[in-house]
Amino acid sequence: MKLRLILRRVAFLIMVVWAASTITFFIPRMSDRNPIRERFAELARTGGFSASDLEVIVASYNKKFGLDKPLWEQYVDYIGSVARLDLGVSLNRFPKTVMEIIYESLPWTIVLLFVSAILSFVIGNLLGAVAAWPKSPAWMRSVATPFIMFMGVPPVLLAIFLLFFLAFRLKLFPLGQAYSTGIAPDWSLSFVMNVAWHQVLPAVSMILGSVGGWVLSMRGMGVTIQGEDYVNFAEHKGLSGRTIFRDYYLRNALLPQVTGFALALGSLITSGAVVESLYALPGLGQKLSQAIQANDFLVIYGIVLFITMSVATLMVLVEFLYPLLDPRIKQD
């Protein structure tokens, strides 16, 4: 029974990745325009690269999108290379492969993303739980309100405002970049602190932008859970308010939120991509918007595909985690 569950989830993951790669394969070819050919023409005009490079790029491009072969064959090749994580080469930074670009920028994105995802999840759910709990003091409940107000504000706008007021006007924080210019990256404490200092504003804007959503959904969930018979019965049992809050109310209200976590990562990646480029952090997002600016198509497709696969994988991992949290799931 359990094995079947795992197999089903893995099959689901494969389906998602397959769907994502199919979309990235077909959409570019549905437009009558051929952006890559245009790009070559443009590059050749401005003399952006040497003739020998051009041959290699064309070969890679042909391999990826090989227009000479029938469509289904191209498709099979494409899916095959996606399965091998071969996402082609960059036009602009030839001979760098797309995967190399992803690998060099991935650590920055992971740090920013996970820090802000986890912090906003924890802060948002605690605030939401407190806000819905009828016995929490009024001031504690009102703390949640300003965060809800921020919910409609996309992190990128917060990033703009923070950058303007705190970094540009008040000069409290650096104006972007991953670390101060002039220091060499190493693992020394001072360098790590420097990096952390540069991450504050982008992280804060992402956290502020996503806490509200958690507060709101947790508050809704909390109101539902506190009406449940088992919370009432816990009070009839004479349990202390703290025990009821933690073991009966919070634990149950959190369950559905966990499923939302992976989905929230997906939208946080979106915001992160833009915030990164705003703060000139060398993460995936910056690479993506640079590629968009430069019409570096294989990099765009590659990064998009990579992000999609990562989010889908995380979602499936969270699903695996879920039975550990909710004993009712194990049965089916």
């Binding site: 449940e228 088992y230 019965f233 049992k237 073991d247 009966y248 634990r251 004993p327 009712r328």
Partner: protein, 321 residues
């Protein structure tokens, strides 16, 4: 013998958008140790409010507006919130109506029992607590392995037994069972009621069974209290109640019961129960009462004692009081 439970002038109101609804109107009730009382009435008569008021679990927009509930000499209404918390389960326990959902789905049964013990006897050793919980499970005919199970692994009847096992963990002086079998099949209902009966005898506690099923009352309780529109109308022994009810509402209630010997002749009570927002003047039952007199429309009948032990609130018997 002083009663273990004394309720005096208990009054509870709900403040709704449509006005104030008095759900309990100066209710008085005594109950002796080891006695089983049935509290019956139509929906909205205030019987569940009574249970919650005794537990001091009335939540806004409801409010306890006065009166006392004395259990074993202690007036619960005078306790601090923390003292009241400690009194729940140890002095007065509650067995809930919705046993289907009364157990935390993500905690093992044992953990939910132990946290109840720990909340009241924090310095008991873990082994002792476990043993206490296991014994409690056994006394309601559950196996020890239920301790490490989750609620979804149990049938409805078993869940209700677990709730009973939790209710008797600290041997309270009063147990309130609020329609404990309303969600169960008849066969399971009987098993559960017999379990309550047995543990009640074992620990000698007083039990208040809340419900609207007079049949269940006939099977289970010693005394029946009938509520109507937030007031007690009659309190009698179960035999008196079924053979010679005095209050016209109680009479109608008994007459509305189908049983094996009156095939085809049971009849309902005409009219509808009043809304607590608009309780009729005088005796609240007078619009539905066949024997209503003029005085019933204006004066609220006082609860009087008849034949030694019966309490009835009806003008019909005024001269006998």
């Amino acid at each position: 013998m002083t009663p273990i439970l004394q309720i005096r002038d208990l009054q509870v109101s709900y403040y709704t958008d449509l006005g104030r609804a008095t759900a309990l109107n100066k209710v008085n009730l005594d109950l002796n140790s080891g006695e089983k009382l049935g509290l019956v009435g139509e929906s909205g008569s205030g019987k569940s409010t009574m249970a919650l008021a005794m537990m001091r679990m009335i939540k806004p927009p409801g409010r306890i507006e006065g009166g006392s509930v004395t259990v074993g000499g202690v007036d619960l209404m005078q306790l601090s919130d923390e003292e009241m918390r400690m009194s729940r389960l140890s002095r007065i326990a509650y067995i809930p109506q919705g046993a289907m959902n009364s157990l935390n789905p993500v905690m093992r049964i044992g953990a939910q029992m132990i946290d109840a013990v720990r909340a009241h006897v924090p310095d008991m050793s873990k082994e002792e607590m476990t043993e206490r919980c296991m014994q409690s499970l056994e006394s309601v005919d559950l196996k020890r392995n239920v301790f490490s199970m989750y609620a979804h692994e149990l049938s409805g009847g078993m869940k209700q037994r677990v709730c009973i096992a939790i209710g008797i963990l600290l041997k309270p002086q009063v147990i309130i069972a609020d329609e404990p079998t309303s969600a169960l099949d008849v066969v399971t209902q009987r098993q559960v009621m017999e379990t309550i009966d047995r543990v009640q005898k074992e620990i000698g506690t007083a039990v208040i069974l809340i419900g609207h099923d007079m049949g269940l009352m006939a099977q289970f309780v010693d005394k029946v209290a009938v509520m109507y529109a937030g007031r007690l109308t009659e309190v009698s022994t179960v035999r008196d109640m079924f053979t010679n009810p005095m209050h016209p509402y109680a009479q109608a209630l008994i007459k509305s019961l189908p049983n094996l010997s009156n095939k085809g002749v049971f009849q309902g009570i005409p009219g509808l129960a009043p809304s607590l927002l608009r309780i009729p003047s005088g005796c609240a039952f007078h619009p539905r009462c066949e024997k209503a007199m003029d005085i019933c429309k204006t004066d609220v009948p006082a609860v009087e004692r008849y034949d030694g032990d019966r309490l009835v609130a009806c003008h019909l018997y005024a001269e006998r009081a």
